[in-house]
Symmetry: C2
Subunit: 209 residues, 2 copies
C-alpha cells in the first residue's frame, strides 16, 4: 500500500547532516504542517511527521508531549495572528474584513483539526484550555470589534451602543461554529450572510448607550 522502501516517506532530508535546536524544530513544524494539510488531523500521525521531517518519534516527544500539542504548535507557527484592525471606511466593510480574518485563521485548522484536538484534549485536560485560548484570543478580538463599532458610531452609521463582552465575542463564535459544523469550508457568501443577516442586525438592535 505504502512505498516499498521504508525510509521513502513523502520526503526525508539530507541524511548527511544532523540538525539541532531551532533548525530541527522548524523542520519538524514544517513537516507537521504539511502532514496536517495533506491528511487532516484524522490521519496526522507522529510517525508520519517524523518520517517526513527525517527524524524520529522520540525527538518529537522531547518537544511536544502529545499529537494534539504538536498539531496546535504547527498551526500556530504557520498561521500568523493578524493584529491590525481593518479600516475600510464602512461598518459593513470592516466587519466583512474582520470575519474573513477570523475565518482565515480558524479555517486554517484543516480537516477536522478542531474536533480532533478537542477530542484528544479530553485525555490531556490541559490541552483543552490551550486550544480554547488559541481559538478565542478573546482580548485581541473583542478590542478589534469595539474599535470597529466605535468608528462606525463616530461616522454616524450606528447610534452610540452599549457593546457587551458577549456581543463583542459573537463574531468569533459565529465563524468558529460555522467551521466546526461545516467541517472546514466556509466561503465568502456565508461570511457575508453572517454579517448581513446576523451581526449587523445585532449591532443595530443593541441598547443605546
Amino acid at each position: 500500500m505504502r512505498d516499498s522502501t521504508d525510509t521513502a516517506h513523502p520526503r526525508a532530508t539530507d541524511p548527511k547532516t544532523r540538525r539541532r535546536g531551532a533548525e530541527l524544530e522548524a523542520a519538524i513544524l514544517d513537516a507537521a504542517w504539511a502532514e496536517l494539510r495533506e491528511h487532516g488531523y484524522g490521519r496526522f500521525t507522529m510517525e508520519g511527521v517524523a518520517g517526513r521531517a527525517g527524524t524520529s518519534k522520540p525527538v518529537l516527544y522531547r518537544r511536544w508531549s502529545s499529537r494534539a500539542e504538536l498539531a496546535l504548535a504547527a498551526w500556530d507557527s504557520r498561521v500568523p495572528v493578524e493584529t491590525d484592525v481593518p479600516d475600510t471606511g464602512s461598518l459593513r466593510g470592516d466587519l466583512l474584513a474582520l470575519f474573513e480574518r477570523i475565518a482565515r485563521r480558524a479555517g486554517a485548522m484543516v480537516n477536522g483539526m478542531i474536533a480532533g484536538v478537542m477530542a484528544d484534549a479530553f485525555r490531556h485536560p490541559e490541552m483543552a484550555e490551550l486550544l480554547r485560548e488559541k481559538l478565542a484570543r478573546p482580548t485581541t478580538l473583542t478590542a478589534a470589534v469595539a474599535l470597529i463599532v466605535r468608528r462606525a458610531v463616530d461616522r454616524g452609521e450606528l447610534p452610540p451602543v452599549r457593546l457587551s463582552h458577549r456581543a463583542a465575542r459573537t463574531p468569533l463564535d459565529l465563524v468558529r461554529n460555522e467551521f466546526i459544523t461545516c467541517g472546514g469550508s466556509v466561503d465568502h457568501d456565508v461570511l457575508a450572510e453572517l454579517v448581513d443577516e446576523v451581526y449587523l442586525p445585532l449591532l443595530r438592535g443593541l441598547d443605546r448607550d
Copy 2:
C-alpha cells in the same frame, strides 16, 4: 488493574437467557448510554459496551458500523426531541425556554461527545452528515423560532420583521458553539446572556417586513 474475573465488567446480565432483536438492542443502547455518561466519549469503547451489556463486539458491529454511530444512536434514543414550541407569553420567556431546550439536547452530549464523534466522522465521512443533521434538525428548530417571533409580533413586542433562514438558525448555532467551546457545561446564566445580549438585540435590529 480492572477486575480479577474477566466477565465482571461493570454489569453483565443473566447468563441464562439469550436476548434477541429489539430487547437486545435496547440493552445495548442502555449500556452504551451508561458508558458514555460514566467515561465520556474519550473512553467509550466497544469492548466496554459489549461487556456491560453482557454481549460481544460482533453483535454491536452487526447493528452499528462504528463506535461513533453507536454513540450517536445511544444519545438519540435516550435524549428525546421535544417538538412542542414554548409559549410563556413573552418573547424573552419563549426564547429562554427554547435555548434551554436546545441546551438540554446538546448538553446531553457529554464529555467530548460532539468533538469525538466529529473527529471520528472524518474517517467515516457519512457520519459527518448524520451528526450535523442530528445536531441541527434545522427545519423543526427554525419553524419553532419563526412561530415564537410571529407570536411576539402579534403581541406587539416586535415590529413585523423579515426573519432569514440564517437568523432563525442562530439560536442553535449559539448554543452549540457554547457547548463545544466550553466542553459541555453551560448554565442558565450563559443562556440568559445569549438571549439578552445577542439574540434579542438581533431580532430588534432586523429589517422591517
